[in-house]
Amino acid sequence: MSQVRYTKDHEYIRIEGAEGVVGISEHAQQQLGDVVFAEAPPVGKMLKAGDPAAVVESVKAASDVFAPASGEVIAVNSEVEATPGLINEDALGRGWLFRIKLTEADELEKLMDEAAYVDYLKTLD
């Protein structure tokens, strides 16, 4: 059973045991519009929570994707780098960016669960 947590910068991390799968939220992909470029960090890179980790770009603008939690990059989604539009089609599924092996599991407690994130989005309007 996996659970998804969100950051205030609209990244998500799906927690799968000691690993986490990172991408941008449905709200973020809607705001960004058509994604035309995605770049994940190299496998093996050590990330601290809050580090700029990946980049997604729409026709108009570039956005950094920050690491929601600390860990080592153990896989990247080469499919999304080749077909960035997957982020628009399926941000939480096939539009994932990279997978990390978590090093600071207690950091996850600081992130929002689905309900808290939905409440947070309401405060942004």
């Binding site: 519009g33 058509d34 035309v36 470029f37 770049e39 980049v55 770009e57 026709v59 108009k60 570039a62």
Partner: protein, 376 residues
């Protein structure tokens, strides 16, 4: 502009009704994109027809005793041959400062039939500056009348001609030459139509009274294949077409030759001069400019945005990107920038510093996507 209240065009309510994402642009609350999104809107314009609200742009009438004296006045500020502009034709030119830098770029139209009248369309962000400059220099016999109560609607794309032909079957607008303009009655609306645009496609820009603009736009949107297009796609379309955007490629430090707009300075003006900065501009025409606007195609998929540093193949700084992004019709990143002249030849390799990493690129010919202007 930032201190004053945000302005709305006559189509503002329609944009909101159509679900546009609105944002401030040049002092106006403008549609950036509609629900279909920038990519779909861009491709729709290239394959069908797009309706653009460009009512934020500055439209004005310049009136004088006769064409010759009025054109001579404007020639004292612009490098195009306007004296020999034929009735019903328009020309692209630039307002210049004393050192030949570009105050604004604009379209100048000589309406058919009218003696001593020119129509101007200038950039929204520059209209206050432009109109002040013109008024300051205006001869006693001439007057400038901003058309504050006129809307401007662009209809662009391969279905544009058939659309206007359907709505105005007796006007013959489908056969109007590129860069011509005249009054036309379209579906009962009194309009002034030019065959020009800012997308690289065939199409029209249609001026009409603000009070009728929404009804007219709604009528156009009922036509097959016509969709509303926001400023996001307008920018990617003009970038693919290799067209300059004021504040990006053009500003008061850039002269028309550096901006690769030498084609807009006709032969008589090159010989005679008589425009601001003529010495600098004629020497740049003769000997080549110090720096030049070029097109760049980055290798790979990463777009290089405005401000990106351009390096020579041996790592020396040679310029910067002025507009850059993803070209939806090209299917790859594209950019325009200024480089030192020695590096401006098509095929020259260079590097773009994106997020600290040099990405290989090369200078390419523009437009990035072929123009489809109506050539009869």
């Amino acid at each position: 502009m930032s201190e004053s209240a945000i302005l709305e065009t006559p189509l503002h309510a329609l944009h909101v009704e159509l679900g546009a994402r609105m944002a401030p642009f040049a002092g106006y609350d403008m549609p950036i994109q509609y629900p279909d999104g920038v990519l779909a809107e861009h491709l729709h314009t290239r394959s069908h027809a797009g309706l653009f609200d460009v009512s934020h742009m500055g439209q004005a009438l310049l009136g004088g005793a006769d064409h010759a004296s009025l054109a001579a006045f404007l020639e004292s500020l612009c490098p195009a041959d306007l004296v020999n502009l034929a009735p019903g034709r328009q020309r692209y030119t630039q307002l210049l400062n004393e050192s030949g830098g570009i105050v604004d770029d604009l379209m100048v139209t000589r309406p058919p039939g009218a003696a001593g009248e020119l129509r101007l369309v200038v950039n929204a962000s520059r209209k206050a500056v432009d109109f002040a400059l013109l008024r300051e220099r205006l001869p006693k016999s001439a007057r400038l009348t901003p058309l504050g109560e006129a809307a401007l609607i662009a209809l662009q794309g391969p279905l544009a001609a058939a659309t206007l032909a359907r709505l105005a079957p007796h006007e013959g607008l489908e056969a109007a030459p590129f860069m011509s303009a005249r009054p036309a009655r379209v579906a009962g609306f009194e309009t002034f139509v030019s065959r020009s645009g800012y997308t690289g496609e065939d199409g029209y820009e249609i001026s009409l009274p603000a009070a009728q603009a929404e009804m007219f736009a709604r009528l156009l949107l009922t036509q097959p294949g016509v969709a509303p297009i926001g400023l996001g796609a307008r920018d990617s379309l003009r970038l693919e077409a290799g067209l300059c955007l004021y504040g990006h490629e053009l500003d008061e430090t850039v002269d028309p030759v550096e901006a690769a707009l030498g084609w807009s300075i006709q032969k008589r003006r090159r010989i005679e001069g008589g425009f601001p900065g003529a010495e600098r501009i004629r020497s740049a025409l003769a000997e080549g400019p110090r720096r030049q606007r070029v097109g760049l195609r980055p290798d790979g998929r990463a777009p290089a945005r405005e401000g990106t540093e351009i390096l020579s193949s041996d790592g020396a700084p040679i310029g910067a990107v002025t507009s850059g992004g993803f070209g939806p019709s090209v299917g790859a990143p594209i950019a325009m920038g200024f480089v030192k002249r020695a590096y401006a030849a098509v095929g020259t390799p260079a590097a773009l510093v994106v997020r600290g990493k040099p990405l290989n690129t090369r200078v390419v010919a523009m437009p990035f996507h072929p123009h489809a202007y109506y050539r009869g």
